[in-house]
């Protein structure tokens, strides 16, 4: 073999196929559980540091900067677009039938953001746009981030 030889199909070489079958079961933890329980009821919560007052979204049991405990606070779930992208290709580089808008949204009353789909016309979206969440019907909610269908202009 010479090093400038180009191997296009590696299965033409003598080869062995390998496969490692694994899957994972993730837990959402103490703060995550509280968040999803609230979401199922159609409510949004964040966590406020008892020491410095920083409000975390998504909620967590600790303040990452001063390592104090936090307490849960109710928030509206509404917010303001901080940044957005209009995706036109899917993960396999196939054109999407309808462009998808993903936005980072500053949530009111918190120092945090959520990243989610934005249901709007691409030409209408701008940084600073006010948006609000649209949830699944109450009986369809499962306590997952996808219980939020999307955000829409408010």
């Amino acid at each position: 073999m010479v090093f400038n030889e180009k191997i296009v199909n590696p299965t033409e070489l003598r080869h062995w196929e390998g496969k490692i079958e694994l899957y994972w079961v993730y837990t959402s933890g103490s703060a995550g559980d509280e968040f999803f329980k609230a979401l199922k009821k159609g409510k949004f919560i964040a966590a406020k540091c008892k020491e410095c007052g920083k409000v975390y979204f998504p909620p967590r049991i600790y303040c990452e900067y001063d390592f104090s405990e936090t307490e849960y606070v109710n928030i509206s779930g509404e917010g303001t677009v901080r940044a957005f992208t209009v995706a036109r290709l899917d993960k396999d580089e196939k054109p999407l039938e309808k462009p998808e808008i993903y936005a980072i949204i500053d949530l009111d009353g918190t120092d945090g953001c959520i990243v989610h789909l934005l249901n709007a016309k691409p030409e209408d979206v701008y940084v600073g746009m006010r948006v609000k969440p649209v949830l699944k019907a109450k009986n369809k909610r499962e306590g997952r981030i996808t219980d939020i269908l999307y955000y829409k202009p408010s």
Binding site: E21, G29, E64
Partner: protein, 400 residues
């Protein structure tokens, strides 16, 4: 054939390194808490014990074994905010199961070099995420062409090693089982223990056969958990406590990845690592100079194996010492007084909690009900991992 070697040790440290606080979470087969939350809980405890706040921490070392367990790539980065790593120099180290002592070794570099005066070491493992079994996560460590087609698993490669050890020294399974009996009993005094229980040698010998000679009670369980340790420079240690515990020596070594070519009855990787650590700590006769030991005990024979690697027993002598009660908590060489991995649990990297943290608690006389009977000055802890090839060793002392 065995070759004796002592590698040269070129080493100049800027300052001594003391340990002033440690913490750990409860260890369980499955915990609801995320890895970040577990790390936070362990760090919080260590900070409280040391009398420090997170603002005092200058650098952070995270130890966590394969990403496969938690099921998150770049697990070190994922765990950062629960580990106090935000906005600080932060690094993750891992050498499989050896991480539980390798992470504090990395913490030692940070302080001994003078780069940091206060370094936080955090170790985390959440094995319950990995399915069908955490064991499945090890499928990727084998040679994909020579070994993986035979579907090896860790239990059977350790069974091979245990068999060889028993054969070479003519050791009976009942003598090895005594380690499991001792450690599970020691763990009854550990508030974080997962599988502490009073069992007999017969229970071990009659437990479910896994890959003979290994049976269910010869093995530690998979666990979720975290541990933390705070390492500081001498001038900080003096402000915090009158009785710090000092790190006297560190060592690590890796044996060949061709594990099938090893002699299997003696852990060379531990012996090499121990030589380095002992040389640094000026220990010439470990049997006499070491008062308490925490060798890595994921299997009962492994504690014996590692005692011999650490020079705490002659080759083949560790089972005899165990039988004579020398390694009991009230013996002359208390070994795994924590209850070890066999009794407290085996959250791979987080086993720092029963190795480096336990040794610190023993030497600081903070081990509570687990405190060994004899007076202790110097101790050694050790971990082992990768493809059963890495030895990581730390010597600590409460005298300066």
């Amino acid at each position: 054939m065995e070759v004796e070697k002592i590698k040269g040790l070129k080493f100049a440290k800027k300052q001594d390194v003391a340990i002033v606080g440690a913490g750990m979470t409860t260890w369980k087969r499955r915990l609801n808490e995320t890895g970040k939350e577990l790390s936070y809980i362990a760090v919080k405890q260590a900070l409280e014990e040391a009398g420090l706040t997170i603002d005092d921490i200058e650098m952070v070392v995270m130890g966590s074994a394969p990403d496969t367990f938690d099921g998150l790539h770049m697990k070190g980065e994922y765990l950062l905010d629960g580990s106090g790593g935000s906005d600080r120099p932060y690094m993750r180290v891992f050498v499989g199961g050896g991480t539980g002592v390798f992470a504090p070794i990395a913490g030692y570099w940070h302080v001994a070099s003078g780069l940091a005066d206060v370094c936080l070491v955090v170790c985390e493992e959440k094995m319950s995420s990995c399915h069908p079994h955490p064991q499945s996560g090890f499928k990727g460590i084998w040679d994909p062409i020579l070994e993986r087609p035979l579907t090896p698993n860790l239990i059977w490669i350790f069974a091979l090693e245990m068999r060889r050890y028993m054969h070479v020294h003519n050791i009976k399974h009942e003598d090895i089982a005594l380690v499991s009996v001792k450690n599970k009993r020691n763990a009854l005094d550990h508030p974080c223990a997962q599988v502490a229980e009073k069992i007999t040698v017969e229970d071990v010998l009659n437990s479910e056969p896994m890959a003979l000679p290994v049976r269910r009670l010869d093995v530690s369980p998979p666990s979720d958990g975290a541990a933390a340790l705070i390492m500081v420079a001498p001038h900080i240690a003096r402000q915090l406590t009158d009785e710090p515990v000092w790190v006297d020596g560190v060592g690590w070594a890796l044996d060949t990845t061709m594990w099938t070519n090893r002699d299997l009855y003696f852990p060379r990787y531990v012996a090499e690592a121990a030589k380095m650590a002992y040389k640094m700590a000026h220990i010439t006769d470990p049997k006499k100079q070491i008062d308490v030991a925490e060798p890595y005990d994921p299997f009962d024979y492994k504690e014996l194996h590692h005692m011999e690697g650490l020079g705490l027993a002659r080759k083949g002598e560790a089972p005899i010492l165990t039988k004579e009660g020398v390694t009991a908590r009230d013996g002359d060489l208390p070994t795994c007084p924590s209850g070890g991995l066999l009794g407290v649990g085996n959250p791979i990297a987080a086993t720092m909690g029963v190795k480096a943290c336990e040794l610190y608690w023993q030497l600081a006389y903070r081990a509570g009900k687990r405190q060994v009977a004899k007076e202790v000055t110097t101790g050694v802890c050790q971990a082992w991992g990768d493809l059963m090839q890495v030895g990581t060793v730390m010597v600590m002392s409460n005298k300066r």
